[in-house]
């Protein structure tokens, strides 16, 4: 039986309108307070001042944020692929899991801000350390979730495969990997946001371009409107990245009941 939608789907307008109204009224309130109370520009610029900086410098800001996103996506791919391969190895060899898993947890507990300068010393001021930092922050959530997903196969499904004398490869590719897909994508969405943070942290410790560099140098010069513009652009880019992964998830997790609701 085809399940009917329990909740009547609201039209996009009624769905988004309250959030939009809240956003606009916050902006207006902010603008009014800053002007009315004469708040210094370097403490809190008004939305119109931030908007002016954005319209004036948007081309440069787009270029900077694109650079950051390139580093983030590179790290995201590197970290996620390594995590997926490690998880696949884990479910096939307990010994490898026992020897590696504790160290993966240790790696996770080391604050990334503490490793970033070290990576900059090792890998220089170029792209490499940013990609590596983004990869490190992506690695752990993807590893944990994928391992869980690959493992979470019912005993009866395993018996079914055994009745058919399925090979280990068939078991992996036909049962474990599809079962793990919903878990994988849940973690990829987390990793997408983390990778942007990772790349920006990398840029903080030494870079001559990227949105992290823009933010840091704006802060040194107390150019708060530019700093806010940097925040706006980096958030925007992170949201787009997240939506991109959600879109891919929608395509790949096509079967009903596949997506873990978030």
């Amino acid at each position: 039986m085809v399940r009917k939608n329990a909740r009547q789907a609201a039209s996009p307008l009624t769905e988004w309108l309250p959030a939009l109204i809240l956003f606009l009224s916050t902006l207006i309130l902010w603008e009014g307070l800053v002007r009315g109370l004469d708040v210094p520009r370097y403490i809190l610029p008004s939305p119109s001042e931030i908007g002016a900086v954005i319209t004036q410098r948007w081309q440069d800001l787009v270029r900077q944020v694109a650079w950051t996103m390139l580093e983030a996506i590179g790290g995201f791919l590197l970290g996620s692929i390594l995590a997926f391969l490690s998880a696949s190895l884990f479910v096939h060899a307990r010994l490898i899991e026992r020897s590696m898993y504790p160290w993966a947890i240790v790696l996770q507990t080391v604050p990334i801000v503490a490793i970033a300068p070290l990576l900059t010393i090792w890998l220089g001021f170029g792209t490499a350390p940013k990609v590596v930092i983004a990869a490190i922050v992506c690695f752990f959530p993807v590893l944990v979730n994928t391992t869980r997903g690959l493992r979470l196969v019912s005993a009866q499904a395993l018996e079914l495969m055994q009745i058919l004398s399925a090979s280990r490869w068939q078991l992996y590719i036909r049962l474990r990997v599809p079962s793990a897909m919903p878990f994988l994508f849940t973690s990829l969405k987390v990793a997408a946001s983390l990778s942007v943070i990772g790349a920006i942290v990398g840029e903080f410790t030494g870079a001559d371009r990227g949105i992290g560099y823009v933010v840091v140098s704006a802060a040194y010069r107390l150019d708060t409107p530019l700093l806010f513009a940097g925040i706006v652009f980096s958030s925007f880019a992170a949201v787009i990245f997240f939506l991109l992964i959600s879109g891919i998830e929608r395509i790949l997790l096509f079967w009903p009941g596949a997506r873990i609701e978030d």
Partner: protein, 252 residues
């Protein structure tokens, strides 16, 4: 059959049973008596601690490699990312060259089987879109698609409501008449066992031993009305008495 642990669990003891070719054998017993364990021993999914099992003069694990077994589980165990039809085809794809049914013919056979279990028109549905009874029918079709000589069924309708279960019992017999295989059907329902089977094996509570084996004196094809025949109700009452548990067994 002993499962290790502290203390070790003796699941089955002194089981000696010969199953006839193409017969429908039901195994009834209280829960935890080792019915499912017996089925898994036959399928080669478990190795007996002591004793020997022979399937068509082969060791169970060899019979498993020769794809002699179809297994219907308590849950349908359908793959949610495959449609009903793809789920039925799956075993043949996995078996590949070992499949007795050529891969080119599988789609036709699978469609026919789905029609046999009254799921014509639901081929493209995903498991999530099917009811529990429908899923179990897909799983029956999946177990039959590569024409196994022995069909092992582990309380396949146990999770369904009684009305659905009754209609699936009739459907199972109908499908079985078409694809005659040896069936070992595990259930905890006495009337289901009597209605379906040629012989009913009654197991005692743990450690499972064979209490008795009953020949069912009903002709085939079975009809629903046979459940109200005196010999049916008499046998059902006899079996119920045999399965009556002393209170202290419930305690443990």
């Amino acid at each position: 059959m002993v499962f290790p642990g502290s203390p070790p669990v003796i699941a089955l003891q002194d089981i000696s049973l010969t199953i006839r070719d193409k017969e429908f054998l039901a195994i009834v017993g209280p829960s935890g008596c080792g019915k499912s364990t017996l089925l898994r021993l036959v399928a080669g999914l478990l190795q007996p601690t002591e004793g020997e099992i022979v399937v068509h003069s082969k060791h169970p694990s060899q019979a498993q490699r020769d794809v002699e077994f179809g297994f219907v589980f308590q849950d349908a165990v359908l793959f949610p990312w495959l449609t009903a039809l793809q789920n039925v085809i799956l075993p043949v794809e996995i078996l590949g060259k070992r499949s007795p049914l050529p891969v080119q013919e599988v789609e036709g056979v699978a469609r026919q089987l789905l029609a046999d279990v009254r799921l014509h028109g639901f081929e493209a549905h995903y498991p999530e879109q099917l009811s529990g009874g429908m899923r179990q029918r897909v799983s029956l079709a999946r177990a039959l698609v590569y024409q196994p000589s022995t069909l092992l069924m582990d309380e396949p309708f146990g999770a369904l409501d009684e009305i659905t279960r009754d209609s699936l019992n009739l459907l199972l017999l109908e499908v079985w008449e078409k694809n005659r295989a040896t069936v070992i059907f595990v259930t905890h329902s006495i009337s289901e066992a009597l209605f379906l089977a040629d012989r009913v094996v009654v197991l005692s509570p743990r450690p499972g031993r064979i209490t008795t084996i009953v020949d069912v004196p009903l002709s085939r094809p079975r009809t629903f009305d046979m459940r109200f025949l005196p010999e049916f109700t008499f046998l059902a009452a006899e079996l119920r008495k045999l399965l009556q548990l002393p209170a202290e067994v419930y305690e443990s």
